[in-house]
């Protein structure tokens, strides 16, 4: 994860000058469009699943391990449940996890990062050391500890992933905010009477946002994958919640007989994660006016 932080931090300033605005914008609006389409597919499926699914989630009326046909478009699992239904509900869970953990990670991470950036040297060092430890701490172990204390549920998975993410976000925020703080326009703003909260709201947040939003979008993809791993290991949403990770795990034993059961949730994960990663790439240009073509 730390490689992503470093990469994102490096991208914020140094790569700009030699690119010609027009070609870059066009290339990036393509990635942005594809990313939006892929993410859009998952969002639409998730929204539709709120109102309509082909079968009830607990409906075991189908044959076991059926191949895809006209009634069960993606076949059934080993209990005879409709796979498409499970997959659609899984989209909802994946998006909930992404949004929830990014929200937790962003709020805690940005607050901590800003605190460290403004703090006196000793507090900054303390926070940074704590963040380094938290980043080195495996997300899985953190999730297991929280699950042990709270019991396995979608909520604990989101909290665990969000907490782990907040360390990465905090470290990135700290570095970016420190860079902005050392800029002369912050001094200039302060000489014109802007207080510290004004500096944060008007100068620091807008200036770190282009880089930070890209990182948060990438973290969204990582969170979805993390939840899939947690569910695969039984540490995420408990059955009968149809998380994609759990669908993969359930299909594992029967992959030779009914490969669609494993392939479908796998493809769904890939579509969502690639979608948000492309979106992240395209997002940078939207958030940063110095990269747009000058009008």
């Amino acid at each position: 994860m730390s490689a992503i932080v470093d990469e994102a931090a490096g991208q914020s300033g140094e790569t700009r000058p030699e690119e010609t605005g027009a070609t870059r914008t066009r290339r990036h609006s393509v990635t942005l469009t594809i990313g939006l389409i892929l993410l859009g597919i998952v969002v639409v499926v998730a929204v539709v699943s709120l109102f309509w699914v082909p079968f009830a989630p607990g409906d075991t009326s189908g044959e076991r391990l059926e191949h895809p046909d006209a009634t069960h478009w993606l076949g059934t699992d080993k209990l005879g449940r409709d796979l498409l239904t499970q997959l659609m509900i899984g989209a909802r869970i994946a998006l909930t996890v992404g949004v929830g953990s990014v929200a937790i990670g962003a709020v805690i991470g940005i607050t901590l990062g800003l605190l460290a950036a403004f703090a006196a040297a000793w507090l900054d060092d303390t926070i940074s050391a704590a963040l380094d430890i938290l980043i080195a701490f495996p997300t899985l172990l953190l999730a297991m500890l929280i699950v042990a204390a709270q019991g396995a549920s979608l909520g604990t998975a989101i909290i665990a992933i969000g907490l782990a993410m907040s360390a990465v976000v905090a470290r990135l925020t700290r570095v970016l905010a420190k860079r902005v703080l050392s800029q002369q326009y912050v001094t200039a703003a302060r000489t014109s009477g802007t207080g510290w909260f004004g500096v944060i709201g008007r100068h620091i947040l807008p200036n770190i946002w282009p880089t930070l939003s890209v990182n948060l979008a990438l973290q969204f993809g990582i969170a979805v994958l993390a939840e899939a791993s947690l569910s695969y290991l039984g540490l995420g949403a408990p059955p009968p919640n149809a998380s994609w990770g759990r669908l993969l795990q359930e299909a594992q034993g029967t992959v030779a007989v009914a490969p669609v059961g494993a392939i479908a949730p796998g493809v769904a994960l890939v579509v969502l994660v690639i979608g948000v990663n492309l979106l992240a790439d395209g997002l940078r240009d939207v958030a940063d006016p110095t990269r747009k073509r000058s009008r």
Partner: protein, 267 residues
């Protein structure tokens, strides 16, 4: 504030680093309403630190002692909340590098508007008119377009004009110009100097002009303080400093400035 106290009164100013090493020592000067003072010195002489200390904006880890009274308020040891009322309102600063002094992601109009909103409480259409007025006063063509632009979309000289507009928006009584033309082309430099000169004269503002360039300072101010290694080595009217400098460092400064001048004459 009574009339006999000067606008800015610096007495025995000392700036020390985190380790306690003195960076500025025993610097004293006063600037009255409408007066102009030059701070001359090479880089590292403490001239910029002195000007930062005046608005209580020393870089992290540095501490000031002594006395700086600005508009009747003691700046040394003052709390941030008190300082905010003085900055931009009584004293404003124009910096050396206009590109870094402007937020790259904020429209220029908003940056000029910030002190107006904060100190004068202007909103809406009144604020917009005040911003256009401020941009107009620094002789920027098409203020409406400039107000909508981002810093990277205009030239260096225009950026410095915007920075001056933002600094002067609230009609401060003291302008601190910290090497405002060092980063600009020579031709643009002359225009900006003329602009500062006119605006300061028109509004009867006091000016502290910080520069390493003797010729530039002599153009802008009548008296000057020469700093070296954080100490005042010589002070006096500009004409006297130029014609009969007494300190060896000032003599060297004047001599090298004349040498440059002479080189121009020959070619």
């Amino acid at each position: 504030m009574s009339d006999d106290t000067p606008l800015l009164d610096v007495r025995g100013l000392r700036v020390a680093s985190r380790t306690g090493a003195p960076l500025v020592q025993d610097v004293s000067f006063t600037v009255g309403t409408g007066e102009r003072l030059g701070l001359i010195g090479e880089s590292g002489s403490g001239k910029s630190l002195t000007s930062f200390a005046v608005t209580g904006l020393l870089p992290d880890g540095l501490s000031a002692s002594g006395s700086v009274v600005l508009g009747g308020m003691q700046v040394v040891g003052a709390r941030e909340r008190e300082l905010v009322t003085v900055r931009g309102n009584i004293a404003s600063v124009v910096f050396q590098e206009p590109l870094t002094a402007l937020d790259p992601l904020m429209r220029l109009g908003k940056q000029v508007a910030e002190p107006l909103r904060r100190h004068l409480g202007l909103r809406g259409a009144a604020l917009r008119d005040a911003v256009h007025g401020a941009l107009d006063e620094v002789r920027l063509p098409d203020p409406e377009r400039i107000a909508r632009a981002y810093p990277h979309e205009i030239s260096g000289g225009q950026r410095q004009r915007v920075a001056i507009a933002a600094a002067l928006a609230c009609r401060p009584r003291l302008l601190i110009a910290d090497e405002p033309t060092t980063a600009l082309d020579v031709t643009v430099q002359a225009e900006i100097l003329a602009l500062i000169d006119t605006l300061v004269a028109e509004r009867d503002m006091a000016l502290v002009f910080v520069s390493h360039d003797l010729a530039v300072v002599s153009r802008m101010t009548d008296t000057a303080v020469v700093l070296r290694h954080g100490r005042v080595v010589e002070r006096g009217p500009m004409t006297r400093l130029l014609s009969a400098p007494t300190d060896p460092y000032t003599i060297e400064l004047v001599r090298s400035a004349r040498r440059l001048d002479a080189a121009l004459e020959v070619s």
